[in-house]
């Protein structure tokens, strides 16, 4: 199975975050918002594991897709050195994406930090009439893809932890305010665990279904090694479920946040 593709564009978005545009008709055709790809870092430095990255956006006409990666360690540092024209080894698309139900006319997507990226294609693909997005960043210098998100939704809210850009405070507080003004049919969350936990509680309180995109350290990325698990409810108890195969997107009420 071919897993080698060409990078058509590599761009740094800020000091530690970069975007790769990869040419792959097969991945761009198959990819659904919220799914991941698993990227080989290369042969240098003894980095064995692929890095699972959410698909940020897809251009199905051009046969390309974008991934945005934050440099966090050895592997992502290696990936940050890739340039346009380089070949990259990618498995995907993998896992389960967001649910796009036409009955959900009003949706709100809430993202924090590097969790914002898969929400972009969600907004592009979702058939809802009214799409709001609430994005949280650490500070002004971390704010990226603002224009792209603005274009993909009806209303964009941004908050920063330190108030250096737009609102100061928590995305979940903005969510609560918006829900008090106008109800929504569906909520989507992707970001830090603490944010998603509060998000799911709010969804329950307002009686709105929601989905969350989980993150976990992964091994094989296809469901075989049972490494990247999260705690989920089942009919009579709970179990550990593979994030790579059964997720990363789960129904919010399935997840047990410890």
């Amino acid at each position: 199975m071919n897993t080698k593709y060409k990078i058509v564009k590599a761009e740094h978005l800020n000091s530690d975050t970069f975007m790769l545009t990869v040419e792959s008709e097969i991945i761009s055709k198959r990819a659904r918002s919220g799914q991941i790809v698993n990227i080989k870092c290369g042969d240098e430095g003894g980095v064995l594991l692929r890095r699972p990255i959410s698909i940020c956006s897809v251009d199905r006409d051009k046969g390309t897709f974008d991934i945005v990666i934050q440099i966090r360690g050895k592997g992502t540092k290696i990936l940050s050195k890739y340039k346009a024209g380089d070949e990259i080894d990618i498995m995907g698309p993998l896992g389960q994406g967001f649910s796009l139900y036409p009955k959900h006319k009003k949706i709100i997507a809430v993202g924090g930090g590097i969790g914002i990226f898969p929400l972009l294609q969600l907004l592009k693909d979702h058939p809802a009439e009214n799409k709001k997005v609430i994005l949280g960043f650490r500070n002004k210098s971390c704010v990226i893809l603002e224009e792209e998100f603005k274009q993909a939704c009806n209303k964009l809210f941004i908050s920063t932890d330190d108030g250096s850009y737009c609102d100061k405070g928590l995305v979940t507080d903005i969510l609560r305010k918006e829900l008090d003004k106008e109800p929504a049919d569906m909520l989507f969350f992707c970001g830090p665990l603490a944010m998603m936990k509060v998000g799911v509680e709010i969804a329950k309180e307002y009686n709105i279904p929601c989905e969350v995109s989980m993150e976990q350290r992964m091994g094989c990325g296809i469901g075989a090694c049972l490494v990247c698990v999260c705690k989920t409810k089942n009919t009579d108890d709970w179990e550990y479920t593979q994030v790579c195969k059964k997720g990363p997107v789960f129904s919010g009420d399935k997840i047990i946040f410890d």
């Binding site: 199975m1 064995l48 091994g219 296809i222 075989a224 490494v227 990247c228 550990y240």
Partner: protein
Amino acid sequence: MSNNIDLKVNIAGLELKNPVIAASGCFGFGREYSRYFDLSRLGGIAVKGLTPLPRKGNPPPRIAETPSGILNSVGLQNPGVHAFIEKEIPFLRGFNSAIIANASGNTIEEYESMVEILSNADVDAIELNLSCPNVKEGCLSFGSSAGGVYDVVSRVRKYANKPLIVKLTPNVTDITEIAKAAEDAGADSVSLINTIRGMAIDVKSRRPVLGNITGGLSGPAVKPVALRMVYEVSKAVKIPVIGMGGISNCTDAIEFLLAGASAVMIGTAGFENPMAWVETIDGIEAYMTANSIDSVTELIGGLIV
């Protein structure tokens, strides 16, 4: 590919079409990798470690990357031996590859029961897991002493009606003593090495990276240790040895064969390269062609010292 090349090996009466086996724990029950290659290419599949009842496994994170290696602490999450027999064997029998059932238990009685159950199931061999480093009961508590291994293997032996492979831990002073105890107690083969116990710490949070605090190291980092142990064990016992530990390609695999292994298992390498097993088989064949070797058995123990 030449027709003269014979890749077949024999493990205690079990004939494998080639010496490459998917290692237990890294391959699930084959379903996921069957989307990447034809599982019939494999000599055998050692399935995910099984226990009498379903096991939830350890809390995440269950993996940490270390230089040229990974630590895992899955903790034998599995659906239980009965679900395996009912749901997974029929799937695996759709391929022409030996099924090796990896079995664990908390007590000797549970090991006996597992071997009895699997002897009555449609599997080709049983790999007795006396070496998982990530569970509190069973496994290492028996597998880290020659006496413990002897007790378990001699007790389960009478229930086994198919090749009984004992998977050994490297976390011992002298692995040859353990291998000899397994042989004396009636094991048909030994497989080694399971992972080496290790840990990783996140200095930012000052916490262990793994939810289980410690885990087992695998990947190229352990290969020299594994190779040395396979070499020593092959000299110490007469039963066939299955070698594993950091094998990523055909060169690694051939090293293990030369050190005395009759077959090899590949696990971690598949995470990076889902074609690792197939490429290794093709590579062994190409090496044999290039070196005018007709039968892969000529490589086994062929180390020149």
